[in-house]
């Protein structure tokens, strides 16, 4: 039954991706992104970070591509996918220094990296809550979509800030924080066998991301 539901969700995502958007602007992933996972355990908090967020979005003309551009309240048509290669993420100390390759391997195993190489988010809805107050301020949206982790897909929603960077390459930074639970994705919180198995990891995980997207590079004349 669960498998059927999963297949149905994935089919829906695929169908949504296949539908054309009217007068869409395609924005592809650019370097400069960051995703951080934060969680807890009974000995100390943990954090994992990766610098790769790939994928693309197609948005309608109401999406702000330039700083200070007027945006109408309400829905923006959106489709696409944002993905993070699991092996690009690694555990770090709070100050950013590398933590442990053993912890990385535990994470990869829990995320079923062998069979699910990516964490993928398929946006389905974007609603403008607050337009930018000035050229450097963010446009605030409510985002909804399907989050696929370790072979399990769930609908999630979270606020995002959109900040057009302007400049020649017209990059746009999309930032947000989503709160999820490992158990939502059928992931049993890790309990490493070290320290007599006394270490317990919390179920809650915070996903913090800065995703940089932009229009395709113009080919040289």
């Amino acid at each position: 039954m669960k498998r059927k539901t999963l297949i149905a969700v994935q089919v829906l995502a695929a169908v949504a991706l296949a539908l054309p958007l009217s007068a869409a602007e395609r924005l592809g992933a650019k370097p400069g992104s960051k995703m951080r996972l934060e969680g807890t355990s009974n000995i100390h908090d943990w954090q994992v970070e990766g610098k790769l967020i790939g994928g693309y979005i197609e948005v309608d003309q109401n999406f702000p591509l330039e700083p200070g551009k007027e945006a109408k309240p309400g829905k923006v048509e959106i489709k696409g996918e944002a993905f993070v290669p699991i092996r690009s993420m690694s555990s770090i100390e709070k100050d950013g220094r590398p933590y442990s390759t053993k912890m990385d391997d535990i994470m990869y195993e829990k995320l079923l990296e062998a069979t699910n190489k990516r964490i993928t988010f398929y946006p389905t809805e974007l609603v403008l809550k607050e337009a930018a107050k000035d050229k450097t301020a963010p446009y605030v949206y409510d985002a909804k979509g399907l989050l696929a982790v370790a072979g399990v897909t769930n609908e999630v929603s979270f606020p995002v800030n959109v900040v057009p960077q302007g400049g020649d390459d017209k990059r746009i930074k999309i930032s947000g924080t989503a709160n999820v639970k490992m158990s939502q994705f059928k992931i049993e919180p890790p309990a490493p066998k070290i320290a007599l198995g006394m270490i317990k990891t919390g179920d809650d995980v915070k996903i913090i991301f800065d995703w940089v997207v932009g229009p395709p590079k113009k080919s040289a004349q």
Binding site: P31, K51, L52, G54, G55, R87, S88, T101, K102
Partner: protein, 454 residues
Amino acid sequence: MNENQINSSGFNRRDFLRGGSMAAMMAFMGGVELFAQTNAAPPGGEVKPGLKVKVAVIGLGTWGRDILKTLARLPIAEVVAICDKYAPSVKRASGDAPNAEQVEDYKKILENKNIKAVVIATPTHLHKDLVIEALKAGKHVYCEAPIAHTVEDAKAIAVAAKAAPQQVFQPGLQLRSDPQRHFLLPFIRSGALGAWVMARAQWNKKHSWRNTSPKPEREKELNWRLDPAVTLGMIGELSGNQLDQAAWFFNAKPTAIEGSGNIAFWKDGREVADTVQATVHYSNGVFLTYSGTLANSFDSDYEMFYGSDSAVMLRGSNAWLFKEVDSPLLGWEVYTKKENFYKETGIVIKAGASKSADQGASTAPEEPFTNTPLSYALGNFLRNAFDIATAVDDFKASFGDDDAEALKEHLAKVRRQPAAGYLEGYQAAVTAIKAAEAVKTGKRVELPADLFTV
């Protein structure tokens, strides 16, 4: 590992003592000698079952066969081809890689897209073209040290490796991958030895260095180490790891080398010295004396580092600390295992031996065969090759392949197993080449700082 990473280690005495105190407490609680580090990870780090890198070995002389035997024991290594232009050498080595394709033309290896990494163990003077062609073919390259017999060749290799950030280039400076050395590094850099005094290295073995073959041309090839036109002699071919280790531990570059050599025993018509001595001066004001002979094997090979408070001796993957009577008490050494060396008492400093503490053993167990500096170097090379290839694939899948600078920046942040890079390989080769020059000419050779830049 690059030079910046090494320099940015930021070790200080307080950090070291903090670690030492914890280790001492643990040792005291267990009532056993101090082994100051938990079990070292196996070569290449913790490797999941099934994680394999397809690798070929080019050059199947004595050292090439040792490499092959080591690869055969590494879970991450899948030796898919072996190559030597001399067919009997390929046949002789095939027993250690029974499933590998046997090849006499290295170009077949480079053309094979299935092969991701190559280990080059040919004579030193043949490295350059092989390395550059292998890098051009997209292979990850492990090249035995010294990487070249001339500064020009060494620089050409380093430049090619620098220009290939999507691939791993690792020179055969195996001590740079040895967990024991990495355990010792903060100890030494933190100033636990006091002020630097001097260093000493030795390599003694009774061996003619001469090989025979019924074919004169083959015999000439086999005896390249005795050919004055291409050889770096004993000091150039054998001291590379030891001199590089000194530069690494001192965090300093050689500035001048004085040397001498003679044919003390093997008077068989050779022109290459069988006994050598050299003094290598480093930019921190300290010098290392090196001696080596092919005429006597007493005391084999080892390195000594002397400070005003204590001295450290390294033999293979073992190390001992010898304290001066007036040196400050570090704390932890009270509880450690001691071994006697004639009238001296050596305090055992050993990484990765906590298993013996767990078992209540009074002495550290011998490490299994695979856990030699060579196995760590090869294991780390293959793991880094895998991780870099994965990172390149991930980056290109995320952003395409039209932003080479961003990719380079991304790869610079990929976590790597400890290993020497092109810069260390180049600098070690330059040191070896200049040391050989000093021994050959009997003159002092200056090494300006700009000689070490790529």
